[in-house]
Symmetry: D2
Subunit: 364 residues, 4 copies
C-alpha cells in the first residue's frame, strides 16, 4: 500500500510539502530515449504555483535528474528526479495543528500515521507531490510523441462554466495540444475568460471552485489492454484517483452512457481508408478494456480546494471541542487548473506502461 | 497485465463464457473463517441469469470449492472455486463471427488475441466471469460482516429513472442491505416498478438500458488507505473498472463536487458521542484517500447492454465491407441489475484486502 | 504473501494434499500456442508417485484444463488446470495430529494458520502441489521448445553418489533431454544404478536420502534479465525456493566460485562463428544477472524426505510432553527424483515470463 | 523487471557508479520509528570503499535523507535517501569501452541496453548501488532491533580459509553482532588474519578471491512466511541474488542437506522452558518456508572480483577480434568483505517486509 504504481514501468513518488524535496523514480523507461529538457520544464511550469489564478507560493520547481540519463538520453536504468522545496511557511500551518481543516487530508494523515505524520502543508498528501509526477510524465509523453502518440488535456469545466469538448471522432493533434500552449488551458477562450472571472470572484469571497479535466490521446495503437483487471480503464482509473482532489473518473461518454438506450450508445463500425473505425466514439477509444484505434477520451472531476479563507466549523482535537477556523496560507482557488498537466502526465505514464508491457516492439 | 488483482488478498479469475467453466482463486483469506454456504448461494443467485428482466440463459451457477476450505471454514491457503458452464448455444454466435457487434468486446478480443481468441459468447470478456467474482466476494463480505462491516448496493438509476439514494450520514444496516433482499434491488419500490416497466419496453423494442449502481459500506474502520496510489479510491477504482460495461466511477458526491464551491463541498467536522465525525458526508467516507469513519459511498455507471436485437451498422471483416446486423441470442436488457451483487463483491474483496494489508489486527 | 508468482505470466497455485484437488492458473500465456497433450502427460507422469523408488500412493494425475485453451491452442486468456485427488488415506495422518514430524511442514502449518489449517498429508505444503506446477510448466516448456529453447534436468547427485554433470560449454539438446526420457533421470546410467541401490537400502532402513537436481537451458536469447532485482537469478531463485524441500540454489559454479581466484573463475570472451561467446562457462550463462548466450546452468539442493519410518524424538502438543514417533504412510525415500520435472517446470515458467516481459517479439 | 522489490515495504534503488548519485526509496516503513543516524553511518562505513583490503576509491558515502523522516523519526510515508558520487575516474574505464572484461557485467549491460547504457564504472550494475541499500537496510535493522530481533553477518570463508560458523542453536546477540564491530568481520580473529594475508597476496598477484557470507537472525517471531512462493527462502533468495557477485544462496545446512540421510538431517522437536524448539538446527530456523522460532541462518556465496590486473583474454568489439586486457582502476581484491553489511541490510529489509505483511501487530 503505497506511493508506487506500474507493471513494466514502475513509478515511486516520495516527498513532503515542507520537507527537503519532492521526487520520484521511474524504473523501466526504454534505453536511448532523448530527453528534451526544455519541453520537460515547460510542462512542469504549467503545473507550477505562482501563476495567475493559482496559489502565490513561489516554487522554482527546477528538477535535478540524478540517474538513468547519460548524454541527454535514457540509459534504460531507473530515472530519478528530485525537486527541492523552498519558500515554505510552515508557521502558516502551526495554528491548524489541532483543528483539522474540513475536506482536507490533514485529518486523514492523523488517522493513518498518528502523531508521527509530517502534516506541514499537507505533507505527503500535498498537491506538491504531483511535481515529480509531472517531471516523469513529461519524459513518458515525449517518448510517446516520438511515436506519434499525443496526449493533451484541457479544463472541460470550472464550476458551472463549460469549455468546448474535444471532438471525439476527428481529434487532431493541433486541437489536442493547443490548450497546453495557452496561459489558461481551454479550447474556447471565451469560456476560459468566464472561468477566470468566476475563479477571481470565488477567491475574493474566500472560496474555491471545482472543475473537470478532459484528456485525449490520439495515435495510440489498437489492441492494447487486457481483461479483466488490466483493462485500460483499470490502469488509468487507479492512478487518476491517486491525484489529490479527484472524486470521479469516466471514459468516453461515461456516466452519460447510463442514461442512454443501447441503440443510442453503441458506436457503429465502419470503414475508413480500409481500416475498421467507428462512426461515433461514445466508447472513448476503449472497447472491452482494449484500445480500439479511435481517440481515447477520459474525464476526471476535481473537487474545489478544501482550504478556503471562509470561516468553517471544525473540532479542536486537543480540547475535543467544536470550534471554527478560517484557513490562511496561500491556496489555489481552483486546483483543476494546475491539474491539467498532471492528468496528462499520469495518462502518459500509464499508457507507456501498457505499451511496454503488451506492445514493446511498437516502441522500437 | 491480467485477470488478477490484490495485494495481500490476491484474486485470479479464469474462464470463458462457452468453455468448460468460470472460476477463481483467492489467495490470502485469513484462516478460520466460517463459510455460510446458503448466504454465498443467495448472493450468486442475485447475479444469476434467468431472473426476471434478465437474459433467459439458464445457469445453475452452482460453485464447487476445490481448496482452501476444510470443515466449512477457511484454512488460510488459497480458496479456489469453479462454476461449470452449461446451457450454451454457441451456434447463436457463429453467424456473428465475421461481423463484430457494435459496442461489444468481441472486436476487442480479435484485436488483442487474434484468431486464437475464444470469442464464443464473449469468451473471457463475458459478464459470466463475474460469477466466480461474486462467489469469492461473498466470502469476503461474510468475513467483513462478522466484524460489523456491511456492504450493500442498489440500482441508483436505470435510464432516466432514479431510486432514492442511500442516506450518506445516517446509513443504517437495514436500509443498506434491504435492496439485496428484494427481487428488484432498489430502495424505493415505486421507482423500481417504473424501472422494470422501462426495461420491459426497451426489451420489446429490441433495445437495452444503461444504469447506475450505488454501493455503501458502514462500519469500516477509520484510517485505512495510503497516499498516493493506494488511496481507497485507487484500489476500488481499478477493480470496479474491471467489471464489464462500467464507464465511470465516482466517490462521495463525485462529479457533482466539480460543480460546487469549496464552502458548499467541505464537510464540517463535528463531535458525535465523543467521536470526530462530519456533519455532512459529501466526501463519501474517504478523505485524502483514507477512510474517515463515515459511511463509504461510491457509484458505478453501467452502459446499456451492447447486444441488442435492433438492426445496427457494422463491417463484415471477411469481406471488408460495411453491412448490418441484428444480435440474436439471449441478452440482458439492462446489465446494471445483475451488476448490483458484482459491485458488492468487488467492494468487499478490495476493502478486505485493504484491511488485511493495513489493519490485520482488526480482523482478529 | 502467497502461492502466486510472475510478472507478465502470473501463476497461482491452489489445493491441498487431501482436499478435492490441486490446481493452478497461468495468466499470460501468449495466444495461439498449440498444446501437445501427450507431452504434457508425459512430463506429469515423471512427477507422479507410484513409480519405482517413489511413494506407492497411486495418483492418476489426470489434469483437466478448464479455460484458456480452445481448439487445442491457447487463447491468450488465463489457462486453468485442475488435478483431482484420489487414493488418500487421511487416517494415516490422524495419529500424527498432536505430534509434529521432525523436519516436516506440519508444525509450520500449525504456527502459521493455527487450528484451522488442513494438515492432512501436508495440506497446502504438500509436494502434491507441484503437480499443477508441472502441468503449467509443461505448457511453458513446449512454448519455449517451439523457439528452440530447451530446458532439461537430471539428478546431479543422490546422497554421496554423483551423476556426470552437463557439459557447460557444449551442451547439446540430445544430452540435455536424455535424462527426462529415462525411467531414472540421470546422464550416467551406472551412477543411476548406484543411486537406486542406495535409495532402496535407505528405504529398507526406514530412512531417506537427499539429492541435487541440475537444470540446463540452451537456446535462450542473450540480453535478458535486469539489474538489480530482476536478475535471472532473482526470478529463478525466488521460485525454486518455493519447491518443497529445496535448501540451496546456485548458478554456474555457484558456491565453488567462492573457493576460486578471479583469474580461475573468470570466463574469457572469445569468438565462435562470429559471435561473442566465452571459452569456459563458470558463470552458468548469466553475467550481471543477464543471459550471456551460453547455456544456463543451475543446481537446487533437496533435503532428504523428512517423513521416515525410523523412530524420532518429538513433542506431544496436547500434553506438552516429549515423546517419540515413527512416521507411517507412504513416502518417497528420495524426493529429489520426482523433483527433476518440477525444476524443469519452474525454470520454464520463469524464463518464459522473462521473455514475455523483456523480449516478447522473440515469441512471435 | 526492475530495481524494485518488496510487498508491504517497497524498495526502489537507482543510480550509477559514475553518475550524479546512488539512492533509494523505501515505501512502507511504519511511522514513528526513531532513526539513529550514528548507527546508520556506522553500517554504511562498513560497506564503504577505502578500508583496508578493499578498493582505494574514496567515497564519503554521506547519505542525505530527502523525505519520510521528520523530527528524527519516520513519518510513515516514503523514505528516500541520496548518496552523491565523487572521486570518480571515468577515464580508467575509457580504454575498456570496446573490450569487455571477463566475468564483468559491462558486456551484459551492452547486451541489455545497447549503446545507450552508462557503462562507466559498471553503471547501474556497480556494487556502488549497494550503498543506498545499506542505508535503507540500516533503518530496517534498527526497527527490528527495537523489537529484539537482531541481524548479524560475518565472513564465513575467504577462498579456502574458513571462519568459525555461528552456533545454530545457541546463537547469542553478542556473538552475532561481534563481527560487525570489528575492522575485519569474522568470529575467529586468527582465521581473519589468515584471510587478510591471503587477500593481500592475491592483490599483489593482480588477482582476487571469492568468499562466503553467513548471516544469522535471532528473536524473529515464529509462524512467519507463506507457502508456496512467499516462503521466507523465496523472499530472501530473490533479493540476495540481487546483490552483485552472489552465485549461490542456502539456508540452514543447505547443500550439505543433500548429502545426508533423513534421520541425520531432521531436527528433533523438544521442549525448552515450555516452548517447542528443536534440539539441533539444520533447518536454519525455517521449516516449510515458515519461521520456526530457532535462529535463522543463511549463506551467500560471492565470486572473486572479476576486475583483476592479471592479463586476460577477451574480444575487441569494434574490431571483432580476440585480444587481451588487464584491468586497471581500483578494485576490491575480495568483494565478500564489504558484502557483509549488504547481506545484513537485505536480510533486514526482507524480514521487516515479511513482518509488516504477516505480523504487523508485532511491530506495535
Amino acid at each position: 500500500m503505497s506511493s508506487t504504481f506500474g507493471n513494466t514501468l514502475k513509478i515511486s513518488i516520495f516527498g513532503e510539502s515542507h520537507g527537503a524535496a519532492a521526487g520520484g523514480v521511474a524504473d523501466g523507461f526504454p534505453p536511448g530515449e532523448k530527453i528534451d529538457e526544455k519541453e520537460l520544464l515547460k510542462m512542469l511550469a504549467r503545473r507550477r504555483p505562482g501563476q495567475k489564478n493559482t496559489t502565490s507560493r513561489a516554487e522554482s520547481d527546477l528538477p535535478e535528474i540524478l540517474s538513468g540519463v547519460y548524454n541527454d538520453q535514457t540509459t534504460g536504468t531507473p530515472v530519478s528526479v528530485v525537486i527541492r522545496n523552498c519558500d515554505m511557511y510552515s508557521r502558516d500551518y502551526e495554528t491548524l495543528k489541532n483543528v483539522p481543516r474540513p475536506g482536507h487530508a490533514d485529518y486523514a494523515a492523523l488517522l493513518r500515521y498518528g502523531e508521527a505524520a509530517d502534516r506541514r502543508g499537507g505533507g505527503h498528501f500535498s498537491g506538491r507531490l504531483t511535481a515529480p509526477l509531472v517531471a516523469l510524465g513529461a519524459i513518458a509523453r515525449q517518448i510517446l510523441a516520438r511515436r506519434n502518440i499525443y496526449v493533451g488535456a484541457h479544463l472541460a469545466s470550472v464550476w458551472n462554466i463549460t469549455d468546448r469538448a474535444f471532438d471525439a471522432v476527428k481529434l487532431e493533434r493541433e486541437t489536442l495540444l493547443a490548450p497546453g500552449e495557452k496561459e489558461f488551458p481551454v479550447c474556447d477562450d471565451a469560456a476560459g475568460l468566464l472561468m477566470q472571472r468566476a475563479i477571481e470572484t470565488a477567491a475574493m469571497e474566500g472560496d474555491s471552485l471545482g472543475g473537470v479535466v478532459e484528456c485525449g490521446v490520439i495515435g495510440f495503437p489498437e489492441g492494447v489492454g487486457s481483461p479483466m483487471f488490466d483493462r485500460i480503464e483499470c490502469g488509468l482509473g487507479k492512478v487518476l484517483f491517486g491525484i489529490p482532489a479527484v472524486r470521479g473518473v469516466e471514459f468516453g461518454n461515461g456516466f452519460a452512457a447510463a442514461l442512454l438506450k443501447g441503440s443510442a450508445n453503441n458506436d457503429a463500425f465502419c470503414l475508413a481508408d480500409g481500416n475498421i473505425r467507428t462512426a461515433t466514439n461514445r466508447h472513448g477509444g476503449i472497447l472491452g478494456g482494449i484500445s480500439s484505434g479511435m481517440p481515447i477520451l477520459l474525464r476526471a472531476a476535481f473537487k474545489p480546494t478544501p482550504s478556503i479563507a471562509k470561516e468553517q466549523k471544525s473540532v479542536d482535537l486537543s480540547l475535543m471541542k467544536e470550534t471554527t477556523l478560517a484557513v490562511g496560507g496561500r491556496h489555489d482557488p481552483c486546483v483543476a487548473i494546475r491539474a491539467v498537466p498532471v492528468v496528462e502526465a499520469v495518462t502518459s505514464l500509464v499508457l507507456l506502461d501498457f505499451l511496454l508491457t503488451e506492445k514493446p516492439d511498437f516502441l522500437r
